[in-house]
Amino acid sequence: MAALIAQRLVQALIVLVVVSVLAFVLSTQIGDPVASILGLQATPADRLELRTRLGLDEPWPVQYFAFLRRVLTGELGVSYITQIPVAELIVTRLPATLELAGVALLLSLGLGLPIGIYAAVNRGHWSADAVLALSVVGVSIPTFVIAILLIFVFSVTLGWLPSFGRGQVVQVGWWSTGLLTDSGRRALLMPALALAISQVALVARLVRAEMLQVLRTDYIRFARARGIAPRVITLSLALRNTLIPVITVSGIQLGFLFAFAVVAEAVFQWPGIGLLFLQALGSTDVPVISAILLLTAAFFVAVNLVIDLLYALVDPRLRSGGMTGRADRA
């Protein structure tokens, strides 16, 4: 187990270094921060002075190591545009994105699991095909379009749900949550749904495929032969074994939902990391861009690490045998 953790940590570190280089190079390529900050107004002398002070006149490897040193000492710098420390910007925005991604994950599982089970148990029946087809329609419509449709129906036409923002939030320590107020929960519903819909088909298809496989195994046949009720077989015996790959995929999904929340955040003006990233991108706010890219990478890596460990816990065969089992399945 310790070897496994060590192995995964080394891999995680490599990924982070690669991403940090990419993040850095990308953010120096998308525009000139000095031109973005000062606009067209400032004098050449002003530009030069600022360029020197921000260290932008150095060759990029030098800039990169300076950047790395700052990151390692926890100093993420100050946003060029709003002049607020990047760490603070991220800390105030993070809860919004995590709540959104978390609820979206729950919604996608909540919808995907029953659909998958239903489709597996009623295999061949037209209703199972219809439900699956419907979930594919969900994945085919871009999140952007779904979000606008939701707003049009539930905000403009029916007037039930707010079209933007987080509603009323409550501060719990440094964490701001919208889950504790009615207005916060209502504001969360549409963005989370818009984000979840694209994932429902994935979960449903996965659950269906796994379930079909499990239903063919010997122990299920024995259970049937012993006369155990079909409902118990499906929901208690078969489902448990189906869940292992679902856990893996959910983890990856959470990473995706976190990263792709950017679309839902843009449409619903959800004050999270994604929106912050978009605004930073538009104004070449390099410290913010690099910090968010790194954070996202770290999040992906952490989620994967946790999944691997969970996996080892759930499936005893993996504890000693390295990671081969997982590679086969995924």
Binding site: S36, Q83, L89, S163, F164, G165
Partner: protein, 530 residues
Amino acid sequence: MIRRTLMGAAAVLALSLGSAGAESLRFAGATPALTMDPHATNDFTTTAIFRQVYDSLVGLDLEMELVPALADNWEYIGDATWRFTVREGVKFHDGSDLTAGDVAFSIMRQKDSRFYRSLFGSITEANVVDDRIVEVVSSAPDPILPRKMSRMFILSQSWAEENDAVEIPDLGAEGAEAYSIRNAMGTGPMQLVSHDPAGETHLTAFDDYWGDRPGNLTEATYLTIGLGPTRVAALLSGEIDLVVDTPLQDIDRIETSPDFSISETAQLLWMQLELDGTRDQALETFDRDGNVLDDNPFRDIRVRQAIAHAVDAEAIVDRVMRGHARVVGIASIPGFGGYQEDMDSRWETDLDRARELLAEAGYADGFVTTMNCPLERYVNTDDICRAAASMLARVGIDVRINGMVWPEFARMLVNGPDSSFHLIGMSPDSRDTQDAFTGYIMTRDPDANEGFFNWALFTDEEIDEKTRTLTETFDENERDELYRDLIERAKEQVNAVYLHQPAIVWAMREGVEAPIRADATVTLQNVTVR
């Protein structure tokens, strides 16, 4: 944060009760207010918001004409010096009195800002003569300084000193955030309650405001909603009262609804195509066979005129801008000092004439070139560029469009300028025609502060000389004559192909009366809600 939550709760409560006593406005725009420090940015949206909290030294009425504000009088006293008399009885939001010291302090603070070099860079001193008099000295006589002072924002000196905000917050500085970014101490009609650069800015009416308050607002919230459809949806569903950046395609829909109204006026900005006036060889320009042209067609006056005759600005306004723009015929717009209404008519669209001119210039077969096109920042630029390109194709000039996001486009200009042909918006800072010439049309020489924004390197000696004379002339009649000569000459030489002035379009629910102003400021003291 807790206060913000309570405010939010209060706002919701007020909304649901139909509000007794508290008249509040929730208004939204596409971009956030970045900072509350009035000297730390010149961003358009941000200025429109902090203008509620900080008064400018010289005021602007709803028609953008200069009116007394914190200075109730100003006069030129010779020696490149203007004397401003500070209004009596003006209070800051903390109850302290406005003094000449605060004014002088603010002038010296703002003039050092990198964002205001072109406006205030020539100010050398601000001297407190007595309690009410401040004398402002420039490095050269400046006839339009009072107009520039409509963008000079006054803050409290003692407040700045107490909160370590004497210096403008420095970019790239490590460590703590400057106090003035989220706090403010001005004399304006509204008082800052809280400001979150990411989201909302809350304001309440300041009871001891020195000026008139024809409206009935007691509080206001500015929100950012980046995406057009969501912004409109928020208005239509009643979550907000006023939208300041209305997407063009939604205007008709909103206008036809009895529950909403539209208000629009021309923005203090005009779009134009700029043509390389200096290089011996134009960049990215080829003959029909794809060989690099060994001269610069844009430097030929006949080619410039041909382009002016070929690009139909009216068609662009009608189709691309859906009528929400005004055709521009000269290098000045209404509301600017020195604007000449009787001269404002654009070159006629005349394709035959354009072809003739091109043939005379030796380009009977036309040529192939590249137009650099900024994809953001201005309305519908993508479509404007494409429309202009297709119009030029009709006279034999094949234009390839090089679309760029704004940071990339800005980099091309400030680090070069490396463009021989581009679309850009022009918005002279001081809102005087003089500034259009000193900043955008004179031969480019950044060190002399001439032609700073002349990105296409247009050059004309007569214009340079007359502009220099204009900047030193105080006599109104003489100035008028110079304005007219300059405008005439620039148009004849086609310093740029003027296109249009986009409109600012506000959409509001029934019951909201907000008079529109061309600098896009919602003057909250004039807003009435029912």
